[in-house]
Symmetry: C2
Subunit: 199 residues, 2 copies
């Protein structure tokens, strides 16, 4: 399974004339046309009508164009887990967070699909995505512990939630998909519950 789920957490829409958005669009286009490895920061900046210096004000390197949203996603996820009703079971707190992050992706589906294709074509980017998702999972587990969930239960719940997210995301970016991400995440969560209950 290729991953492509991190990096759309930005607040900005596609057509705003801001430098970050222009650099991002230029990078996505070039990565798609020539491959990630064959694209330079100079080429991205040129296509965006900006300088390399400007590029490095926004992104540490060309990989970060694809991953800068991970931190925002993590913060929102953690916040939603923290703010779930005290009575919510651990997995329900994670389900509430999944519901809350869905619109962030839905707003930028075309970006998500293109990004997914770029990542699927590059093992190094897949590894980076894996590491970002592991970091997200650890943050969610930590948020669950702060709710009083036991150590192991927190890790198990967080990992389950991230897997639900990944499975739903894969379906969502599929070309033939018509279902919203939120609905797909709810379906995946139900499927996880069914799998865990089956004996």
């Amino acid at each position: 399974m290729s991953l492509g789920v991190i990096g759309y957490a930005g607040a900005m829409g596609r057509w705003q004339p801001d430098a970050r958005g222009r650099l991002e669009q230029a990078a996505l286009t070039l990565y798609g046309q020539h491959g990630f490895d064959n694209t330079t920061v100079a080429e991205i900046a040129e296509r965006a009508g900006l300088t390399k210096r400007t590029f490095f004000r926004y992104f540490a390197d060309k990989r970060e164009v694809l991953f800068w949203g991970a931190q925002t996603l993590e913060q929102l996820f953690v916040q939603e887990v923290a703010e779930a009703p005290a009575s919510a079971a651990p997995l329900d707190a994670v389900a509430a967070a999944l519901d809350a992050v869905a619109p962030m992706f839905e707003e930028r589906r075309e970006f998500a699909v293109r990004r997914q294709q770029i990542i699927a074509a590059n093992p190094e980017l897949q590894e980076r995505e894996l590491i970002k998702l592991a970091s997200l999972s650890r943050a969610v587990a930590e948020a669950l512990r702060r709710r009083g969930v036991g150590d192991a239960a927190a890790t198990l719940t967080a990992e389950a939630g991230i897997t639900v997210f990944r499975v739903a995301f894969e379906r969502w970016v599929d070309e033939g998909n018509q279902q919203p991400l939120q609905e797909l995440m709810r379906e995946s969560l139900d499927e996880l519950r069914a799998v865990a209950a089956a004996r």
Copy 2:
């Protein structure tokens, strides 16, 4: 959570005088004393009383000393999933595989503990472990699909199983732990089922 669960799948005991085992022992000792980054292949070979050439007959690089067992583990895991009774639910097939791999680790607990400490001290090794575990999860999911399990359910079950494995492994290598790995894995699996059932 630091990971340290791959790489003990070798058939060889600690005290056999074979070259692989001697290189492995020498590497573990040096990584522990001087750190992974500060140890060279030449130093490992010298300590083992062997040549660099011999080292490279067994390991592609110094990292592989810690990860060469991953493939054997994956093969056994996949085989056990495949051979679980046809009537077994997907998560029960994975539970059977967890039972089957436990002795392989139990035989080399001291090695596992030392390896865990080395990996915990090095982010690059932690990333490598994450990637190996993701590969293991994909292989288990594929084995479940061959049993007729649906695509998403296979991924969800495999990821749940690998998480159970990781959580139990963390407890098992803990200094104060007295419980066998198999027992800890069964406990973690029960905990996962409880987490998924709670509403």
